[in-house]
């Protein structure tokens, strides 16, 4: 049960990453590798601000802003300096490694005795479950704290998803989506596509930074190497989500990305539970993504026959 709750919580936290990747990768068709750097940036900003004595909520908001700026830089490199999309992401990601070290001042900041957003989620358990510490769910004893972190994280992610949905439905959001779909058409309507790309990447990396901030607070430390491979994780979530939904409506795609992230962590948990050889972990992870990519195609062929 602890494993299930842990996986769900991490899945939900990383679903913000998935939403960020969804914006850059799916809405703008922009393979944005900045994610590896901006998730660490979010963690670094949040951790160092919390340690410096700022409120955890303020620190988390600032990590969104930091990610937002990082994404904007990638966008500017791509649109104003005409640097290839993949390359501008790589440039910013590489630069962020040094920035992150600067922000943290060292490579690893522990947050053990600090007050964080997650600890305030934990203390919220007294309002949800009155003062019981251990709750019995169908025979499993579950710490009330963990459960309350899961519930509040879920609520927050749902709120973010709704805000994102509503935003992408506004005039500005529609223009952004149109930029990814048909840049020529939307330019003809008088929209500056460059601004749209910069704004979109900024928003995407802002969400990713936020995800990093929550992740660092959840696991209790920020580490300069924590971003490695995160883009793959985000992409996998988006793709698994699409395979599940098999539909192109905005609301469904957003829901799909979140479900994809949660599902991905659950699959990893199952793989761990079944005691597979630890050295095969990455291979199995790649296998999951492969299946998610092939499944919709296979299903279609199956239906046709």
């Amino acid at each position: 049960m602890t494993l299930l709750i842990g996986s769900l919580t991490i899945g939900l936290i990383l679903s913000l990453l998935a939403l960020g990747v969804f914006i850059s990768f799916r809405i703008f068709n922009f393979p944005d590798i900045t994610a590896d750097g901006s998730i660490t940036l979010g963690a670094a900003v949040a951790a160092s601000m919390i340690v410096a004595g700022f409120g955890p909520l303020l620190a988390t908001v600032c990590s969104f802003i930091a990610g937002f700026i990082a994404g904007a830089v990638t966008g500017i490199l791509h649109t104003k300096f005409k640097i290839n999309s993949l390359l501008s992401g790589i440039l910013v990601m590489t630069a962020l490694y040094s920035v992150n070290l600067r922000v943290m001042g060292k490579s690893n900041i522990p947050l053990l005795s600090q007050k964080t957003v997650i600890t305030s989620f934990e203390s919220f358990s007294q309002y949800i479950f009155s003062s019981t510490d251990i709750i019995n769910i169908a025979g499993w004893s579950v710490p009330a704290k963990d459960l309350s972190v899961l519930i509040l994280t879920a609520i927050i992610i749902i709120i973010f998803a709704i805000i994102l949905y509503l935003f992408l439905k506004t005039n500005l959001g529609t223009a952004m989506r149109a930029t990814g779909n048909n840049a020529q058409m939307i330019r003809a309507l008088g929209v500056n596509t460059q601004t749209m790309i910069i704004l979109g990447l900024a928003l995407s990396n802002g969400l990713i930074g936020l995800s990093g901030a929550l992740f660092a607070q959840y696991q209790g430390f920020a580490d300069v190497q924590m971003g490695i491979g995160m883009i793959v994780l985000g992409l996998a979530s988006v793709i698994i989500g699409e395979a599940l939904i098999n539909e192109k409506t905005l609301g469904l795609l957003i829901t799909g990305a979140i479900m994809g992230a949660v599902l991905f962590r659950l699959l990893v948990a199952i793989a761990l539970r079944w005691g597979m050889n630890p050295n095969d972990l990455k291979l199995i992870t790649a296998g999951f993504v492969f299946i998610a990519l092939m499944l919709p195609m296979a299903l279609k062929r199956f239906k046709r026959n």
Partner: protein
């Protein structure tokens, strides 16, 4: 509006899958339902456990030193008098450098009710400190457990955690350097700002170098591709010797450092065992296999009834001095006989 409403049903596949997988996960966890605490009793004389013990070893990544430490733990358990398969099972899990997976692994370890958990490396310990509060944990391969958050000092620490610190023997290194090269005034090292242990090691090296009357010059390095350039730059900074501190990056790319120091004829010393074989004049190395065996020794004390809270953290109990005479001849350094007598291994 109608469409939006009905589209809700389209996510049923995803939700269903999440629910199904969650249920599978819960099904595999069914033994933990209504579980009464499995209280461990040991027969002190013959040291036979009352039930088959479940151990778990959690590793963060694949690196030579973490493999040595793992081998040490396996060896230590084999020599402890317990029999694998009948008395205990050891489950080895490796996160392959992925922090999100590490969190999953530690949740899994928490819910599997192991009798005791071994861990190697700092990120593992940090996550354990946050998540595991009751199962006894013995860590190893952590340079500074206090910085990792396991406690406020070696004696005052989180009640379920104890273990072995593998901070390098910088004091021994500085002394050795003075013995071999009495005239040395300045030494240099590369360090990796991205690794917490590297920064810590640099500070400790600085402290002991100062005590021995040596200045330490450092050059940061961020990737193995940069190592060669950084090492060449270090060698041009008017140093008398390169004394490479321990971290993952430089121990993996030590050969580049060796090439740079050989081409500029600056004597090279190391703190990892195989560096003497790779061309360092001498290496003062913690024995990482021993660090695993030391962890098992602490684990046995816990299994025999001591509280982890009462067991202070320890340093690795064994340090090896390895001398490479060929390298010494190359750098035209004469190694005093008393140093050679002290050596655990001499490469000719």
């Amino acid at each position: 509006m109608k469409n939006t409403f009905f589209s809700i049903f389209k996510i049923y596949k995803g939700l269903l899958l999440i629910v199904i997988i969650s249920l599978i996960l819960l099904y595999t966890d069914r033994y933990n339902r209504n579980k009464k605490e499995n209280i461990l009793t040991l027969d002190q004389g013959t040291f036979k456990p009352s039930h088959k013990l479940k151990f778990c070893l959690i590793q963060y990544n694949d690196a030579p030193i973490s493999e040595e430490c793992r081998d040490g733990i396996v060896k230590g358990l084999a020599e402890s008098g317990l029999k694998e398969g009948t008395d205990y099972n050891l489950n080895i899990i490796n996160a392959q450098g992925d922090l999100a997976t590490l969190n999953n692994i530690i949740d899994e370890a928490q819910s599997s009710h192991y009798d005791l958990i071994f861990s190697t490396s700092t990120p593992t310990l940090q996550t354990i400190v946050k998540k595991i509060k009751d199962t006894p944990v013995v860590f190893s391969l952590v340079a500074d457990p206090v910085v990792a958050g396991a406690g406020t000092s070696f004696t005052n620490h989180q009640s379920n955690i104890t273990g072995i610190s593998t901070l390098g023997d910088y004091e021994g290194m500085a002394k050795l350097l003075k013995e071999i090269m009495p005239g040395a005034k300045t030494i240099g090292t590369l360090y990796t700002p991205g690794e917490a242990n590297s920064v810590k090691n640099k500070e400790v090296m600085e402290m002991y170098a100062k005590k021995a009357g040596l200045d330490l010059v450092t050059v940061p390095v961020n990737s193995s591709a940069e190592t060669m350039d950084a090492a060449l730059m270090l060698c041009t900074k008017k140093i008398d010797a390169v004394c490479q501190i321990i971290d993952n990056l430089t121990s993996a790319s030590f050969s580049s450092i060796q090439k740079a120091s050989a081409s500029t004829s600056i004597p090279l010393f190391g703190l990892v065992g195989d560096q003497a074989e790779k061309g360092a004049i001498a290496a003062v190395s913690r024995d990482y296999i021993q660090s695993g065996m030391d962890a098992v020794r602490l684990a046995m004390r816990i299994l025999k009834g001591e509280k982890p809270a009462a067991i202070p953290f320890e340093y690795v109990s064994k340090t090896n001095l390895i001398i490479n005479r060929k390298a010494a001849a190359f750098y035209k350094i004469k190694i005093p006989d008393k140093v050679i007598k002290k050596a655990d291994k001499v490469i000719k």
